[in-house]
Amino acid sequence: MRHVSATRGNLIALIATVCCFSGCGGIQNAINPAGPHAQSLSRLWWLMFYVLTSVFVLVLIALAMALRAASRRSDLNPVLNPSPETERRKRNAVLSAVIVTTITLFVLLIYSFSTGRSLTADLAQKNGLSIEVTGKQWWWEVRYQDVDASNIFITANEIHIPVGVPVTFTLRGADVIHSFWVPNLGGKKDLIPGKISTIWLQADKPGVYRGQCAEYCGLQHARMAFWVVAEPQDQFNAWRQNQTQTSIPPATDSQKRGQQVFLTSTCVMCHAINGTPAGSNIGPNLTHIGSRNTLAAATLSNTREHLAQWIVDPQRFKPGNRMPQNNLSDQDLQALVDYLASLK
């Protein structure tokens, strides 16, 4: 347990560091790649950027030269019989421009195809971690698959992955269409009800990367984000080991009271805490809520204060979300927060 909280300490430090650098949006940035998938897309982007910027500049230069070559005489009678020589030169110029355009497009097309192929060809060979992500209005349910059923566990809005290992994401839409996107790691993929889509991503650098829903999914589309935490394999194993456990039993009196509050109020209607009778899967699974860095799909940092405010009035932060307001006495609320915060 101590190990896990140490990991979390590092994590907060890491987020703080990265956020300092995020003036340029570094942790949710398509051209700041942290994995092979995003790397090859970033290469493609820069190739296109330079080639197409040159095209743009050349067209504008041609336009400027055309205007320079034009006269501003007072005689504005239309030119009805241009000289065949001029016409011929213009025809050759236009023809060459069209040929160059076509060749450029073919180069880009082939480069784009080969990038695309490399992204999906790898998918067949990769045999790393498999994670199932289900998009719900407006949060992410994350299920770690394993051949050993006792190692399967469910969490929400925070995905830990080991560095240097390809991860296959199986994506499902539970209600409406969402889109799973972690720009630093790679492209996006839609989660469509009735369909299954897959995408593989890999992080080569340890770090935290922010992901966000990229397909408009209703009222709180803007507040449907998540974090990907890429960490060294041993840290990941420790985290995973902890996540497979059932919840920590309440230790203090306040935590015990908190558990009772949880089990006897509306919380239990939607949320599950493994190891207690709470087993509903409508809202996020809270078995290890205390180990997560954020609340409400990466809307709020996971502090006691935010947790309490969120429980009492979730609509204040994320109007329209499916969690109702809760009338709890101050003591009950503090006890509940004690309990939830202890669920590392």
Binding site: Q28, L60, A70, P78, L80, T101, T102, T115, G116, A222
Partner: protein, 660 residues
Amino acid sequence: MSQPLQHINDDELAAVMEREKEELERTWSPPHGLRWWFTDTDHKGIALRYIVTAFIFFIFGGIEAALMRIQLSRPDNHFLSPDKYNQIFTVHGTTMMFLFAVPIVTALGIYLVPLMIGARDVAFPRVNLYGYFVYLIGGILLYTGLLLNTGPDAGWFAYVPLSGPSFSPGKRVDIWAQMITFTEISALVGAVIIIGSVFKMRAPGMSLNRLPLFVWAQLITAFMIIFAMPAVMLASGLLASDRLIDTHFFNPAEGGDAILYQHLFWFFGHPEVYIIFIPGLGFISSIVAAFARNKIFGYTAMVLSLIATGFIGFGLWVHHMFATPIPQVGQSLFTAASMMIAIPSGVQIFCWIATLWGSKLNIKTPLLFVLGFFAIFVLGGLTGVMLASVPLDLQIHDTFFVVAHLHYVLIGGSVFPLFGAFYYWIPKWTGRMLSETAGRWNFWLMFIGFNMVFFPMHQLGLNGMPRRVYTYLPESGWGTLNLIASIGAFVLATGVLVFVINVIWARRAGAVAGDNPWAADTLEWSVSSPPPHYNFHNIPVVQGRYAMWEATPDAPIVRGLSTTKREALVTSVLDAEPELRFEVPGPSIWPFWVSIATAVMFIVGIFTPWAFLVGAILAGAALTAWFFGDPNYKNKTVSEPAETKPIQPPPRPELQPKEV
């Protein structure tokens, strides 16, 4: 009946001409007052109503855009609630696409095509009137919804299942779906009118290879509308039936398919982009020819490029769906097609540059807007090439990068040429010149404002900002670029305001335009400004692609059309050989009543499916009356073709533009 002119002297000729003009004026004059509103079928009046209405919707859409920019100007802003924001961005997109862009560019066609091809009216004047009413009702429906807080909130694309009955209860999406139906009906009838007029009502001599590029652009757009719009009507119709009568076309739980909707929507949605900007290419060709004082270089290449764009435009729709799980081989085809469409667009850009090269420039506001088009549209086209690439699209799809791209293409490709077109043709429509000084202010404010709003959005998209978010976190680092964009929005809006003031000023105090202030080449400039109700007294016989520039002194004119009946000349499709005279239907109240019946069907249909039955019966009755109940309408059988005869030379057309 116009009188034979062989054996009369000049004085008698002048008297005959004067008398004929009076008769024509009487025959074609519109009803007055309220009756004008509800019954007049003059294509110019209808087109101006379309233009004014669409421009008002443009202002509404702009106000919505400004509200969104205020909300996004800083992180965690509370200017708009999420619900309001979602309604506003949905209505903004819907307004700009359906109520502004398509109607206004086709309206320019409805005004100008008959004048450019030398016709007295469009092919189906009453259907034209019906199209306007249906469009107006659709627009009012959408805005009534918004003002009553039932504005649609599922995006202008209304993807299922979000727009389905389970996730969008209430009437909001129904209003969207029915509004689509109204505007599509209107676009479809507009397209039929343009095609009918262009194919069968051209002045003799205007064979297809002499058709002005503006008319070609309108014609190809009309064909695209006819193939694209039914797909979206199917999409919105099936969606409405899922919502209203519990079908399950798009419900995955009952075997329906959510991706089917996307295919139907984008099979329309992508051609829609070309429907919006191909007419813009037509405006540009007109303006470039007139202000470069030069024939457009590569006429045949231009026409073939337009046609190629029209075809390939239907083969790109899947590039809006690259992030969905569809097979990669199929996606690759759409990448190739999406890149290929850059070639015909490139051909046109190169041809215009070649036209400008070494020409005699007359730099006026319309040309400035065209030059602005080059800078903006080329950039938008190039980011389009990026979006065509499946892998790259997976990063930038549904981000602000796409918001930047689409506005570069649509504002650059359509709105800038449109404003150029306003400066170019408003003198024709009103008889008054707009102020050049104000025009330059207007252009530079719009150009700078536009780039301030949308250029930073490329970077925002790469920095990971998704589209359609009502807010973002302060830690995201997106605040500064968003603030720049928001300030730019107000610069852009000021530019539009200058335009509105310029128009109001010019209507009262602008210099009188005369028939042909720009000494331009197409036939609309051969008639007075504003044109007479009958357009042409003597329909000209066209002698070249540049009808006004290439008219010979002994150019023949068409004689033999009635001056006491609304007669038009029908000519052959390819060579515009005169075939027969046709009596054009005049003012009628029935198009209005049919549009009301249509409204009953679709608006009341939101509340009860019985309305479709009642509305269909009402529409059937009104249509019956339209066809049979009106003495004004007599179906003419084939009559002998009119003759074309040379008479004394008309005055030499103006070749030097006026000083303005």
